[in-house]
C-alpha cells in the first residue's frame, strides 16, 4: 500500500458485475491489463479464455460507476477434482487483482465473497488457491474468510518464492459429493 494509494478517494458505490461471454470485447482487455500488472510473466489470451469461457459466471468485476474503469477482478474455476482421496467438487481461485490505488478498501474481499457464494450456489465442496508466501495481505484476506494453510510449496513461483496452498471446506468431508448434483438437473 503506497502513500499515494491512501490519498485516492474511493468512488462512493462501486459497481460489481458478473462476467459473461458477451462482455468479452468490452472487458477482457482491462481484465488482462489489471492482472498482468502483478505478474512477472504474462498469461496468454488463451489462459484467460480457458477460465472465462468455461466459468464466466465465477468471474466478478468491480467497476467505477462513473467512468466504468475496471478496479478489481476475480477469476475462478469449478470442477471435479480427483487425486489421492475421494472426488470433490473443487473451486479454484485462479486470479485476483485490485488496482493498486484502490487497495485496502475491502474490494478484493467483496469479489472473493461473490465468487465463493456463486460456487456455493453451484454445490461446491471446497475452494482452494495458492498464494505467494510474501503476499501477507492476500493471506490475511483469505484466512479472515475461513481458509486454512494446508501445505507449503517450495519455490513455487518463477521468482523463486514459495507458496502456501489455502483450503476452505464448504461442507463436512463426509457430505462432499464430488459433482454438481441437483444443480445441473
Amino acid at each position: 500500500m503506497t502513500e499515494e494509494a491512501k490519498s485516492t478517494e474511493l468512488p462512493s458505490e462501486l459497481r460489481y458485475i458478473q462476467y459473461e461471454h458477451a462482455l468479452e470485447k468490452q472487458y477482457l482487455p482491462s481484465i488482462r491489463a489489471l492482472i498482468s500488472k502483478d505478474l512477472s510473466e504474462p498469461y496468454s489470451i488463451y489462459v484467460y479464455r480457458y477460465f472465462l469461457y468455461q466459468w464466466g459466471d465465477l468471474c466478478y468485476m468491480a467497476l467505477d460507476p462513473k467512468t466504468n474503469t475496471m478496479i478489481g477482478v476475480v477469476v475462478c474455476k469449478l470442477e471435479t477434482h480427483q487425486s489421492h482421496s475421494p472426488p470433490t467438487l473443487r473451486g479454484y481461485i485462479a486470479m485476483l487483482a485490485v488496482s493498486s490505488t484502490h487497495r485496502n478498501h475491502g474490494i478484493a474481499t467483496t469479489l472473493v465473497r461473490k465468487a465463493i457464494d456463486a460456487m456455493i450456489a453451484r454445490n461446491a465442496d471446497e475452494v482452494v488457491l495458492e498464494t505467494e508466501e510474501t503476499n501477507i495481505p492476500a493471506m490475511k484476506l483469505y484466512e479472515r474468510l475461513g481458509f486454512l494453510r494446508s501445505k507449503k510449496l517450495h519455490r513455487y513461483y518463477l521468482n523463486g518464492n514459495s507458496a502456501y496452498r489455502l483450503v476452505l471446506h464448504l461442507k463436512r468431508t463426509q457430505d462432499m459429493v464430488g459433482d454438481v448434483g441437483s444443480w445441473v438437473r
Partner: protein, 762 residues
C-alpha cells in the same frame, strides 16, 4: 509497480484490444500471397496434406473468444500456450533494429584483470545455478561459454574462442586462462548435473538440470581438461607480463577450478578415503579468492540475455539471474562445509544414529543445497547398497533387533539354511522374508523423504503415513501367523487385561515409526508456519497426544522385551545377543525420555495458548465461510484415515484442548509443571553421550538441537510465569494488560517450538 495508476492501465488496455471484424489480415498475410509449401514428412503411414483452407473456414464459424477444447486439455497445458508477436512470450520477436545475435569480437585481447572479472562473474552464475536458477539465465548467458559449447566440441582443439586464426600459436595467455577455466567449469557442471539427475529431486522446484540441448562437454574427458588447467598454470607462472598479484589471482582461480573439478569427480565414491579432506582443501581456496576478487574488472558485454534465443527452449529470454559475489562465495563455502560433513554419514554406527544424522543434517539452516542432498541420497542408497557396504536386509534386521527383536530367533540367519518345510525355522525364515519384502521400501522411504526440501518432507510424510498404517495391519497378520512357529507364551496379567498379551513385534515396530512420522508432520507444520495462532493450542495438544501415545507404546515394547529375557536366555548369553539386548533397552530408554521431553513441552504450550485464547489475547478471525468442524477436516486430513491412534472427534478435541472447566490459573499451574518436567528431560538428554543418544556420527549437531530446545523450554517457563502474574494481578476481574507476540520461524530458539513472547502493558 505501485506507482502506476488507472491512467497507465488504460493505455495498456488500448494495446490489448480484441478485434472481431472480418477485416483481419489473412492467416498467411506475412507471406504476401502464397502460404509456404507443406513440410515434407518422411514417415511411414503419414501423408501430409494442406488443411489451411478447411481450418480457416472452420475457424471463421467461431465467435471471438469461443473455445473448442478437448476435455483432456488441462489448465497446465493452457498456461503453456504462447502468443506469437508478444515480446514477453515469443522468443523470436525482435524490437525494431534489434538483431538476433550479439556482435562480440572473440579475437579481442582482454586485460588479465578482465579475465578475473569474467571468472568471478561465472562463479556467481555457477552458484546461482546451484541455488535453483536455470543454466539459461546463468552460465549460458556468457558469450564465451556459448562459443565453447556451440558447435559441440569433440576435442580440445575445437575449443578456441577465436575460430579464425591458426589458433594454438596465436592464442593470448589471457584467453587461454579463460578457456581453461571455462572448460573446467562446464565439466564441473556436467558432474554435478549427472549426480542430481540420478537421484530423487524436483525439477525446477529444487534444481534445473535442463541443458537446452547443449552438451556439457560429455565428449571431452575430464583428465584432458585437468591437464590443460595444469599446463596453463605452468605457462602463467612463467609469464612476466602481469602484475604479480594479478598473476597469482589468476593462478589461484585455475587451481581452484582444477580442485573443484577433481572433487565433484571423486565425491560420488563411497570407498575413497579422505573425501572430507578434499572438500576442506577446496574450502581453503576461498580466502584468497575473496581477497583477490577486488582486482577483477567486470566485462558486462561478454554476457547477454540474448543467448537464450539460441537455446532449445519455448520460453522467451528471461532476465539474467543476479547473485552477488558475496552471496556466491557464501553459497560455495556452505556447499564445501556441508559436503565435508555429509561424507561422515558413510561411517555407519547403528540404524537409529543413521536416522538422526540424516534428519538433523537436513534440518541445518539454511538447508544444505540440492547437490549435497543428492550426494547424501547417493551415499545412502546408491546401487541399492546402503552406504556402499550394507544390504537392505542388514539394516532392517538391525533396526528390528534394536527396537523390538533383540537376540531373537526370528532374526537368526541360520534359519535361512533350513530346507525342511515342516521345520519351524524354515517357516520363520519365509515369513520374515515376506515381511522384509513388504517393509523394506516403506522403511527406506523415510530416509529418502527426509532428503527432500523441507516443504516436500512434510507433504510426503502426509501421504506415506497411510503406507505405514497399512504396513502395521499387514505386519499384525504376519505376527499372528508367526506365533505357531515361535510358540510365543503370552503375558497373562489380570491386572492389565483379561486377554492374554502377545508381543506383536513386527506391527509394534511399524506402529513406532508411524507415530514418529505423525509427530514430525505436526512439528514441521510449526517450522513451515502452516498454523494460524489460534490453531496452536490444538496442534500442541495433538503433538503431546502423539508423543504420549509413543511413550505408552514404548512401555508396552519394554514389557515384552523384559518378558522375553527368559525365553531368549541362551541367545542373550552370547556376546552378540547380550549386546543386542542392552542396545534395545537403551534405545527404549532414550526414545521414552525424548518422548517425555516432547509431550511435557507440548502440554505446557497447549495449556498456555488455551489460556491466551480464553483471555482473548490471540487474534480471532471472523471466518464467515467455515466453522470449527470444517476446519477440523482440513487440518486433520492427513490423520483422519489412520486407524491407530484413533482420530479424536472435533467436539471432543475442542473440549480437551480448551478445558473449559479449569480456571486459567489452574491451567497455567499445569503448564508450569509440564514445562519444568520437559526442562528436566531436556537437561538429561543434553548430558547423554553419542551412543546413549543414538546420534553417533552427528553428536555435535544433535547436542546443539537439544540445547536449542532447552532454551525454548526455559523461555516458555518465563512466558507462563508472566501470564500467571498478570492473571493474578487482575484477581479475575478486568482486562489483562498483556501483549502477546508470536515469533516467526527463524526467530525462535527452535523452529519446532512456538513460544509466545509476553509483554506486560503499562
Amino acid at each position: 509497480m505501485h506507482s502506476d495508476g488507472v491512467s497507465v492501465l488504460s493505455q495498456q488496455v488500448a494495446g490489448l484490444g480484441i478485434d472481431d471484424g472480418p477485416n483481419k489480415p489473412s492467416a498467411f498475410g506475412a507471406y504476401e500471397q502464397e502460404p509456404p509449401s507443406a513440410p515434407k514428412l518422411q514417415s511411414k503411414g503419414v501423408i501430409a496434406m494442406d488443411i489451411t483452407e478447411q481450418f480457416t473456414n472452420a475457424a471463421q464459424k467461431l465467435d471471438v473468444g469461443q473455445l473448442i477444447k478437448d476435455p483432456d486439455f488441462t489448465l497446465f497445458e493452457s498456461v503453456g500456450a504462447l502468443e506469437i508477436m508478444d515480446p514477453k512470450m515469443d522468443s523470436g520477436f525482435l524490437e525494431p533494429g534489434e538483431t538476433m545475435e550479439d556482435d562480440y569480437d572473440f579475437s579481442q585481447a582482454l586485460l588479465p584483470e578482465e579475465i578475473i572479472g569474467i571468472i568471478d562473474q561465472l562463479l556467481c552464475h555457477e552458484m546461482a545455478w546451484h541455488m535453483g536458477y536455470p543454466l539459461s539465465q546463468t552460465i549460458f548467458t556468457s558469450l564465451y561459454i556459448d562459443r565453447l559449447l556451440m558447435p559441440t566440441p569433440t576435442s580440445l582443439e575445437q575449443t578456441y574462442f577465436d575460430k579464425g586464426g591458426s589458433c594454438s600459436v596465436d592464442e593470448p595467455l589471457t584467453l587461454q586462462v579463460l578457456r581453461a577455466y571455462c572448460l573446467g567449469l562446464i565439466k564441473t557442471c556436467w558432474f554435478v548435473n549427472n549426480r542430481v539427475r540420478s537421484e530423487h529431486y524436483y525439477e525446477e522446484e529444487d534444481f534445473v538440470t535442463h541443458t537446452y540441448n547443449r552438451s556439457l562437454l560429455d565428449r571431452l574427458d575430464h583428465e584432458q581438461i585437468l591437464k590443460l588447467l595444469e599446463e596453463t598454470i605452468e605457462l602463467l607462472s612463467g609469464s612476466d607480463k602481469m602484475l604479480p598479484e594479478v598473476k597469482s589471482a589468476l593462478s589461484c582461480r585455475l587451481r581452484f577450478r582444477a580442485k573443484f573439478l577433481r572433487t565433484v569427480e571423486m565425491a560420488p565414491s563411497r570407498t575413497t578415503p579422505g573425501l572430507k579432506a578434499v572438500w576442506n582443501e577446496l574450502l581453503d581456496f576461498l580466502p584468497e579468492l575473496k581477497l583477490s576478487s577486488k582486482l577483477g574488472k567486470p566485462v558486462p558485454k561478454s554476457f547477454s540475455v540474448k543467448v537464450q534465443r539460441k537455446l532449445a527452449s519455448t520460453v522467451p529470454p528471461r532476465p539474467i539471474a543476479q547473485v552477488s559475489q558475496e552471496a556466491a562465495f557464501d553459497h560455495l563455502e556452505r556447499l564445501c562445509r556441508d559436503a565435508s560433513v555429509v561424507v561422515e554419514v558413510l561411517e555407519y554406527h547403528d540404524s537409529h544414529s543413521l536416522f538422526t544424522f540424516v534428519m538433523l543434517f537436513q534440518a541445518r539452516k539454511p538447508q544444505p543445497s540440492v547437490y549435497v542432498r543428492t550426494l547424501l541420497q547417493h551415499y545412502l542408497f546408491g546401487d541399492m547398497i546402503i552406504l556402499g557396504t550394507m544390504s537392505i536386509r542388514q539394516i532392517i534386521d538391525e533396526d528390528l533387533a534394536s527396537t523390538v527383536l533383540p537376540a531373537n530367533k526370528l532374526l537368526d540367519r541360520g534359519n535361512d539354511d533350513i530346507e525342511v518345510p515342516t521345520d519351524p525355522r524354515f517357516n520363520m525364515a519365509s515369513r520374515m522374508e515376506l515381511f522384509r519384502s513388504r517393509a523394506a521400501g516403506t522403511y527406506l522411504d523415510i530416509l529418502r523423504t527426509i532428503c527432500q526440501n523441507r516443504c516436500r518432507i512434510r507433504r510426503t510424510l502426509c501421504h506415506t503415513i497411510s503406507d505405514w498404517d497399512n504396513l502395521q495391519l499387514d505386519a499384525e497378520e504376519i505376527d499372528q501367523d508367526l506365533r505357531q512357529f515361535t510358540k510365543e507364551e503370552p503375558i497373562v496379567d489380570r491386572a492389565i487385561s483379561s486377554e492374554p498379551i502377545y508381543a506383536f513385534p513386527l506391527s509394534s515396530w511399524a506402529y513406532f515409526y508411524k507415530l514418529r512420522q505423525m509427530e514430525w508432520i505436526v512439528q514441521m507444520g510449526f517450522e513451515l508456519e502452516i498454523y494460524q495462532p489460534d490453531e496452536l493450542p490444538t496442534m500442541y495438544w495433538y503433538l503431546q497426544y502423539l508423543a504420549k501415545t509413543r511413550a505408552r507404546h514404548l512401555e508396552r515394547i519394554r514389557a515384552c522385551l523384559m518378558r522375553n529375557v527368559s525365553a531368549s536366555r541362551s541367545r542373550i548369553r552370547t556376546t552378540q545377543g547380550g549386546d543386542e539386548y542392552t542396545t534395545a533397552l537403551a534405545f527404549n530408554n532414550f526414545s521414552t525420555l525424548e518422548a517425555a521431553a516432547t509431550y511435557g513441552f507440548a502440554d505446557a504450550l497447549s495449556s498456555l495458548f488455551a489460556v491466551l485464547a480464553r483471555l482473548s489475547l490471540l487474534p480471532v478471525l471472523p471466518r464467515p465461510y467455515s466453522d470449527a468442524a470444517t476446519r477440523y477436516d482440513v487440518r486433520m486430513k492427513p490423520f483422519l484415515s489412520i486407524s491407530l491412534p484413533e482420530p479424536i472427534p472435533p467436539a471432543e478435541l475442542e473440549e480437551l484442548v480448551a478445558q473449559p472447566r479449569e480456571s486459567p490459573l489452574a491451567l497455567l499451574s499445569f503448564a508450569a509443571e509440564s514445562v519444568a518436567a520437559a526442562k528436566r528431560a531436556f537437561e538429561i538428554l543434553a548430558k547423554l553421550g553419542p551412543a546413549e543418544a543414538f546420534c553417533q556420527g552427528y553428536h555435535e549437531g544433535w547436542a546443539q538441537n537439544v540445547r536449542e530446545s532447552l532454551k525454548a523450554c526455559i523461555f516458555a517457563g518465563v512466558s507462563i510465569a508472566a501470564v500467571k502474574r498478570a492473571v493474578e494481578a487482575t484477581g479475575g476481574k478486568g482486562q489483562i494488560r498483556l501483549r502477546v507476540d508470536i515469533p516467526k520461524a527463524g526467530e525462535r530458539y527452535h523452529d519446532w517450538w512456538v513460544v509466545p513472547k509476553v509483554v506486560p502493558l503499562a
